[in-house]
Amino acid sequence: MSPVLFWLFTAMMLGFGVSVVLNRDPVASALSLVGSFLCLAALFVGLDAFFIGVIQVLVYAGAVMVLFLFIIMLLDLRAEKRRNLNRLAIVGGALVSGGFGMALLRVLDGFSAGHRAFPALSAKIDDVRSVGSILFRSYNLPFQVTGVLLLVATVGVVVLSKRELK
């Protein structure tokens, strides 16, 4: 991936992320999140992970975000009214996030392998086949457990959505 495209998509991804956190209107936050996920999918494609990029667009930017928007519309949430800001939460949040960011920079600075450029690929990418073969050969049991998990989640959602929770 050319560095220009990388920095462009990273900046857009982080910009949309900031907009998710700062917007008062939940619909605007959800749409910013879609933008952030699309830029992330572009970064995945830039890393030669085409399958993951497509899944990211279909599952996250498509299904999950439609679910979010649907629930926001269903609950009929308005833009939040300006409440008294909790000073402690803001100071604490800024401190913890700032500390996390500083720790991140420190760790990345000391991570010598991270300063090397990405090696060139020596074979042709066929990532759907490769991911599929690893998924079904080495991770067959976890894959089937995931199926059970999705079933349990579906049943759980149906139970939770019933009118009377008894």
Binding site: V21, S36, Q56, L67, L77, S130
Partner: protein
């Protein structure tokens, strides 16, 4: 033109995680908190895919184990979103609010 290093991607991923983390700490709307959780999950996915591309296998292809893990994370996250939003809807039905400061007792 200098080429990209692994640290560029890890920095992007870490900053996205920090954003999501700050959102969880600062925001008081439970749906926005949930969206910020999704941001954090995606930040982890980005560093996994970057490591996958960086650490080539013997055949000169990316290490696909990481991408299988990302696939699992996306599946579990989708299930988590469905259940979480169902809980939020049930909560809203019981209390008519999604503001976490209005939700102070466990039992209704």
């Amino acid at each position: 033109m200098n080429s990209l290093t692994l640290n560029n991607y890890l920095l992007a991923s870490g900053l996205l995680f920090t954003l999501g983390f700050a959102g969880v700490l600062l925001r008081r709307n439970i749906i926005i908190i949930f969206m910020c959780l999704e941001l954090m999950l995606n930040a982890a996915n980005l560093s996994l895919v970057a490591f996958s591309r960086f650490h080539l296998g013997a055949d000169g292809l990316p290490n696909y184990n990481a991408q299988v893990l990302v696939f699992f994370i996306i599946t579990v996250a989708a299930a988590e979103v469905a259940v979480g939003l169902a809980i939020i809807v049930a909560l809203y039905r019981a209390r008519q609010t999604t503001h976490v400061e209005d939700l102070q007792s466990l039992k209704f």
